[in-house]
Amino acid sequence: MRRAMIKSVSDMIRDEGDTSLFLVDIGVWAFRDILRDYPDRAMNIGIFEDGMVSLAAGMALGGIIPTVYGISPFIVERALEQLKLDFAYQKLQGNFITTGASYDFSTLGYSHYCPEDLGVISMIPGFEFIAPGTASEFSRLFEQTHRDGHPTYCRLSDHVNKAGREVGFGKAAVVQTGSRATVIAVSTMLDMVLEAYAGEDVSILYYTTLMPFDRKTLREHYNGGRIFLYEPHYEGTLAHEIYKTFPDRPVQLSCVGVKREILRNYGSKEQNDAYSGMLPEVN
């Protein structure tokens, strides 16, 4: 997925003269051609996320569409006030692409984990949040959102689904329909969901746009049974959206995702998934 991101963003810089790229001192090697050929619009400034987001906002006020690429917690949390005030409040468009979803950087520990990304960004009305599950889905979603007039957060993960799906911004994909339950697979959780529910008479909906949440598709395909929500970030982050989808009826909701606690472990991504009960135990 990271390679697809580099290609999409590089193409954007080449083809769209009103765009810019800021690196938080990551991806310099991958973007070396762009940094060399377009030094006025593509730059590696240094390790200052909050200041960089403000700089990007200033450029957005000047008519430039900025894209910032950094590590999840340092964009989401260190620069939170800038995302909130400099972009959302000012109604500016910009793209914030991050690597290190949840505990993808499992060797680096809690300071580099960010299972709270959606929860935090969802507190900023007006932000868009996309979480592609494959490289092709990234390309499609980025193409549809990167100059749509809104600030957009994009969550990249190193752990992707096997097959890309026909996804579109703002729209959930209906993977299958059934009668016993409704299963919501968010982003990179789809493969695990497909395996767990193989042969089961359930509806499976696949979400790669998390803000705004596609309530319409859920309403249309809800079969009256229990709803199972599988998220690659903190469990239950989208629960509010599920309940808001059904203001007129009670729903039973079960949530699977990253445990809501300070994660003090290193280990592998799979071991951390197992700890949260997201996978069978891994030795």
């Binding site: 001192d25 590696n44 400034i45 909050d50 071991q271």
Partner: protein, 266 residues
Amino acid sequence: MNLNDKVKQLKLECLELCVHAGVGHVTSAFSCAEIVTLLYYEIMNISKEARVSGDYDRFIMSKNHGSVITYPILADLGYVSYDEIRTFLDNGSRFGIHSKLGIPSVDFAGGALGIGIGVACGMAYAAKQDNKPYKIFCLVGDGECYEGSVWEAAMFAAQNNLNNLIIIIDRNKMAITDYTENMVALEPLMDKWKAFGFEVREVVDGHDFSQLRQAFANDSSKPICIIANTIKGHGVDFLENNLLMHGCAPTGEKAELALRQIGGDK
């Protein structure tokens, strides 16, 4: 054992941990190996008596990704066992790339750049308020100096005359994937720290114990900033100043070569 031999031993053990785990910030650890070694074995008062009384000198590794160099030190000094540090990065281990709470002598779990120095300033302030004799040593990466919080903390330190605070800048002139002067340039770095109210001492070769020792020799009426010029990945030719090796551990023959180059005939 003199410190030159000691640092070789520590770097070997550090490298072995990272090679075994298949990952680790070896270059960042080797950049500051001599600084950290000198602090633990000579400069800081971490005697048993001081530890018991609570008046031991504190060390904050603000550039926390270099922490793996401290693990062999903690084992050598008896804080933890060698067996335990060899669980480095295992599921459930206390020892990861960034040090975390629960490790003896780690007063603050870091990992995010620009955080540790603020905490160090707060600790120094609290110590002064309580007339405590201990000092706070804080190792800051030069790439970390991009973070605005570094300079916010520096202003506070000078305003409050925190002369019990010693900041050491590991000036290897590299950040994560680029050289600092290719990005927004950090220079003139000494002038910046002076302007922020610090007594600035430059160490031309931050891998030379005698030069480092001299920089730590005298107290000051101001907070001290020691800018130690270092080489990222020091001691292994293919790691030195190699932008592509940040956060990596050598593997296979390269690992063997690295072990030989830092003085281990294995």
